[in-house]
C-alpha cells in the first residue's frame, strides 16, 4: 500500500510540474500574436446558434476579421455572466488581467460594473451595449436605431394585409411599454404598416420575458386564432412565432436574423442587426488611437445609414409593391430627410412599378390620444435612444 501511495504522489508531482511548464509556455508564447486583445462579456454562451449573444459574438468575430485580428487568438470571453455586479466585476478583472485593450459588455445590467471599472482601469476602453452611461475618456455605450428597420418591415406587413384584405396584424413582444426598446419597435413597425394600410390594427401580445420558446409559440397562436392576425411580427429571442405563422398558413416578420429558413412559406423580411459594423469601428479606433476613442467613436447610435441595422432580403412571399416602397422609405431615412418619430407621416400608393410616397404633416399621438409631437414637428428619436419612450402610438393595442 505504501508503495502505491508513493507512486501516486510521484505521479501527482509529475502531472503538476507538466501543468506548471505548460502554463509558462503559453505565457511566453502569447506575445507572438498581435498585441491588441479584445475582451467580451456575454449573458449567454458564445456557442449559441441563435439569439442575442450569438448575434453579438458573430458581430465581434466578423468585426475582428475585418480589421485583421484573429478571433481564435486575440479574443477573450467570459460567458454566462448574469446581471450581477460582483460577477461582472470579476469577469472584467479576468479580462484586464489577460491584457485586453477593449472590453465589450452586451447586457444592460452590466452597467454598474462597467461604470466602476472604467475608473479603475483608465487604460482599457469599456464599451457597453444598450446602456446610458459613459465618460469622456474610456467608457461609451452603443445601440442602434433598429426602429428604422422595423418601420421597413412594417411596410412589408402592411402590403401583405392589403393583399389579404385583413387589417389585423399581430406582434409577439418580450415586453410592452416597460422598455423603450420594445415599445419603440412596436410603434415604428405599426407606423410602417399604417403608412401602407391606414386601417391596419396592430395587436401586441406581451410575454414578459426576453425569451421563452413556449410562451412565444402560445402568443403567436393566440394572435392568429383569437385575433385573426394575418401577419405576425416579433421582438423575442427564438423563431417560434414565425414557425407558428408558417404552420397556420399566415405570414410573418422575424427579428435579429433572417428567419426564412425556419418559416419558408411565411417569412416576409426581418429587421436585422449588423453588429460587426459597430464592433469593427470601435476596435479599429481603440487599436489606432485609444486616447481619442471618445471623440472618434463616442456613444454610438447608428442606424440604416451606417448599415448597422437593415432588413433581411425580401422573400417571394412579399407583395409586389413591397420592395419599391421599402427602398423609398430607406432613402428618406438614410438621407436624414425624414425620421419615424416625427410629426410627418409617410403614405405609399400606386401599383407595383409606380409606387409613390407622399409626406403629410400629422401629429404623433399615443393610443390614448395624447399628443407627443405636433404636426410637422421634429422627431423624438432621442426618446428611443435614451430609453424614455413608454407609450404605444395610435393603432396599437396590447391584447393581454
Amino acid at each position: 500500500m505504501k508503495k502505491l501511495i508513493s507512486m501516486l504522489v510521484t505521479a501527482a508531482l509529475a502531472v503538476t510540474s507538466v501543468f506548471a511548464l505548460a502554463g509558462c509556455n503559453s505565457a511566453n508564447g502569447g506575445g507572438k500574436a498581435s498585441n491588441f486583445k479584445v475582451g467580451a462579456i456575454y449573458i449567454n454562451s458564445q456557442n449559441d446558434t441563435s439569439g442575442y449573444t450569438y448575434a453579438h459574438h458573430h458581430g465581434i468575430t466578423e468585426g475582428m476579421k475585418k480589421i485583421g485580428l484573429d478571433p481564435a487568438k486575440d479574443l477573450y470571453i467570459v460567458d454566462n455572466i448574469p446581471e450581477d455586479d460582483e460577477k461582472v466585476k470579476q469577469a472584467i478583472d479576468q479580462l484586464a488581467g489577460n491584457g485586453c485593450n477593449i472590453i465589450f459588455g452586451i447586457s444592460f445590467g452590466y452597467i454598474n460594473a462597467f461604470e466602476a471599472k472604467a475608473k479603475e482601469y483608465p487604460d482599457i476602453i469599456f464599451s457597453h451595449a444598450t446602456g446610458y452611461l459613459s465618460n469622456d475618456k474610456n467608457f461609451n455605450n452603443y445601440f442602434g436605431r433598429i426602429y428604422q428597420a422595423r418601420y421597413l418591415a412594417g411596410i412589408a406587413a402592411g402590403y401583405k394585409s392589403l393583399e389579404l384584405k385583413n387589417n389585423n396584424i399581430g406582434y409577439v413582444s418580450a415586453w410592452g411599454t416597460e422598455y423603450a426598446e420594445t415599445c419603440s419597435g412596436i410603434n415604428s413597425f405599426a407606423m410602417g404598416c399604417m403608412a401602407v394600410n391606414p386601417d391596419a390594427k396592430i395587436s401586441v401580445y406581451e410575454i414578459s420575458t426576453w425569451g421563452d420558446q413556449q410562451l412565444e409559440r402560445q402568443a403567436a397562436e393566440t394572435l392568429i386564432d383569437t385575433y385573426g392576425c394575418c401577419v405576425i411580427a416579433q421582438h423575442c429571442d427564438s423563431a417560434q412565432p414565425q414557425i407558428v405563422a408558417n404552420e397556420k398558413g399566415v405570414f410573418g416578420c422575424g427579428y435579429n436574423s433572417d428567419m426564412t429558413a425556419e418559416a419558408p412559406k411565411a417569412h416576409l423580411t426581418a429587421p436585422v442587426w449588423n453588429w460587426d459594423v459597430y464592433y469593427a469601428t470601435a476596435m479599429k479606433a481603440a487599436m489606432e488611437d485609444p486616447a481619442n476613442f471618445m471623440t472618434k467613436v463616442g456613444n454610438y447610435y447608428e442606424g440604416l445609414k451606417a448599415g448597422f441595422v437593415d432588413v433581411s432580403p425580401l422573400t417571394a412571399n412579399c407583395s409586389a409593391e413591397t420592395k419599391e416602397a421599402i427602398d423609398l422609405a430607406k432613402k428618406l431615412m438614410t438621407s436624414g430627410e425624414w425620421d419615424v418619430f416625427s410629426g410627418v407621416k409617410l403614405s405609399f400608393s400606386g401599383a407595383a412599378g409606380s409606387v409613390a410616397v407622399a409626406k403629410t404633416d400629422a401629429a404623433l399621438k399615443t393610443n390614448d390620444g395624447t399628443e407627443i409631437v405636433a404636426a410637422g414637428g421634429a422627431s423624438v428619436e432621442d426618446g428611443v435612444i435614451q430609453g424614455s419612450m413608454n407609450y404605444y402610438v395610435e393603432g396599437v393595442t396590447q391584447v393581454n
Partner: protein, 367 residues
C-alpha cells in the same frame, strides 16, 4: 444469475479513500481532456491554467486572489452552517433562501446608511442578517419540533420563495424601492454607499478583506464549539439518536431550535459579508452556496477541518474553470460546469467505493 450486494467496508482507511479520490479525479480529468482534445485544445495547457486559476501571465494576479476569496468566504461559512444542522440530522437544504433573506435585510441597512461610520454599518448589516435568517431557521425548526413537519420540504421551499422575493425587488420600479438605481429607466440594482462597503487590510496592492478574517475565526469557533462544548456534544447525540438524547435528559426540541438558529444565522452572516464585500445585491448573489455547501458538507463528512479544505478546493475549481475558459474563445462556461460536475461526481463515486464494496450474495452473510 448471480446476485450482488453492497456491503459497507468494515475497515475505513484514509489512505484508501485518498487513493480512490485520486483515481476518481484522474478519470474525470481524462474525460475532460478527451473533450478538450476533440475541440482542438491542449488539455495540459488548459488544466495548467485551471489549477493555477489563471495566475500565470496575469497582470492583475492579486485581483484573482481577491476574487477567489470572495467565492471562498460565503462557501466556507455556509458549508460550516449546514454541517451543524446535518450533524443533528436536520436536513436544512434551505441555504439559498436563508442566504437571500440575510442579503436582503443587510441591503436594506446598506442602502440607507450613507453618512454612517463604516464599522457601525457593516456590524449592523451582519446583525440584521443573522437575526432575520436565524428567525426563519428557528421558525422552520419550531414547525418540526411542534408539528413534526418535514424540514426538507420546508427549507427547500424557502429557497424559491426568497428567490422570487428578490426578483420582485429587482424588477419593480417604484417610489418605495430604494434597492434600485434612481437614474435608470430600466430596473437595475443600485450600488451601496461607501459606508456599507467592506474594507480590509491593504497588503501592497492586495487587500485582505475583513470578511476573510471573520470566516477564518468562525471556522475555529465552530470547531471548538462542536468538539469541546456541551452544546456541541448535544448536537451529535441528537444526531445519533434523538431517543438517546431524550433518555439522557436532554431537551431535544430546545437543541434543535438553538442549532437551527445558529446554522441559519451563520448563513445570514455569510450573506451580509458577501453583499458588503461586493457593494451590491442581485438575485444571483448566493453563487449557489446553499447547494454547493451541501456537497462540501457531505464530502467533508461534516468535519470542520475537512470543510475548510474542501471549500478551498471547490473555490479553486470554480474560479479556475472560469479563468481557464476565458482564455479559449471556443470554451464556454458550459464546459467549465461539465468539468466541475464530472470531478465532483467522480469524487462522490470514489467516496462511495472507498466505503462500500460489492459482494456476491452468498458471501454477504459472511462479510
Amino acid at each position: 444469475m448471480k446476485k450482488y450486494h453492497l456491503v459497507r467496508r468494515a475497515d475505513a482507511k484514509l489512505s484508501r479513500t485518498l487513493i480512490f479520490y485520486a483515481v476518481g479525479i484522474l478519470v474525470s480529468l481524462t474525460i475532460g481532456a478527451i473533450v478538450l482534445g476533440v475541440l482542438g485544445i491542449n488539455p495540459f495547457d488548459y488544466y495548467g491554467k485551471m489549477f493555477t486559476i489563471g495566475l500565470v501571465g496575469n497582470r492583475y494576479g492579486y485581483k484573482s486572489i481577491e476574487g477567489l476569496l470572495k467565492i471562498f468566504v460565503p462557501l466556507l461559512i455556509t458549508s460550516l452552517a449546514l454541517s451543524l444542522s446535518f450533524k443533528m440530522r436536520f436536513w436544512n437544504i434551505g441555504g439559498e433562501g436563508e442566504f437571500l433573506i440575510g442579503a436582503i435585510t443587510a441591503s436594506i441597512i446598506a442602502f440607507n446608511s450613507s453618512g454612517m461610520p463604516n464599522f457601525v454599518t457593516v456590524l449592523l448589516m451582519c446583525l440584521a442578517a443573522m437575526i432575520s435568517s436565524g428567525i426563519i431557521g428557528i421558525a422552520i425548526a419550531a414547525l418540526k419540533v411542534r408539528f413534526n413537519t418535514n424540514e426538507t420540504l420546508m427549507t427547500l421551499m424557502i429557497n424559491y420563495i426568497m428567490l422570487y422575493v428578490i426578483r420582485y425587488i429587482g424588477e419593480t420600479k417604484a417610489d418605495w424601492n430604494f434597492f434600485l438605481r434612481e437614474d435608470s429607466e430600466r430596473p437595475k440594482f443600485g450600488t451601496f454607499p461607501d459606508s456599507a462597503v467592506m474594507t480590509g487590510i491593504p497588503m501592497g496592492q492586495f487587500k485582505l478583506l475583513w470578511s476573510v478574517i471573520i470566516a477564518l475565526a468562525l471556522t475555529a469557533i465552530v470547531y471548538v464549539y462542536l468538539k469541546y462544548t456541551k452544546q456541541g456534544y448535544e448536537i451529535s447525540v441528537v444526531g445519533d439518536s434523538s431517543a438517546t438524547a431524550k433518555y439522557a435528559g436532554m431537551s431535544v426540541g430546545k437543541i434543535v431550535l438553538r442549532t437551527m438558529f445558529i446554522s441559519s444565522a451563520m448563513i445570514g452572516l455569510a450573506a451580509a459579508l458577501t453583499v458588503s464585500a461586493s457593494g451590491t445585491i442581485s438575485d444571483t448573489v448566493t453563487n449557489n452556496v446553499g447547494w454547493t455547501g451541501i456537497i462540501v458538507a457531505w464530502l467533508s463528512k461534516l468535519s470542520v477541518p475537512a470543510v475548510f479544505v474542501t471549500s478551498i478546493l471547490i473555490s479553486i475549481l470554480q474560479y479556475g474553470c472560469q479563468a481557464a475558459a476565458t482564455q479559449y474563445p471556443a470554451i464556454d462556461s458550459n464546459y467549465a460546469d461539465l468539468l466541475q460536475g464530472l470531478i465532483l461526481f467522480s469524487v462522490l463515486v470514489a467516496d462511495f467505493a472507498a466505503n462500500f464494496k460489492i459482494v456476491k450474495k452468498e458471501e454477504a452473510k459472511n462479510a
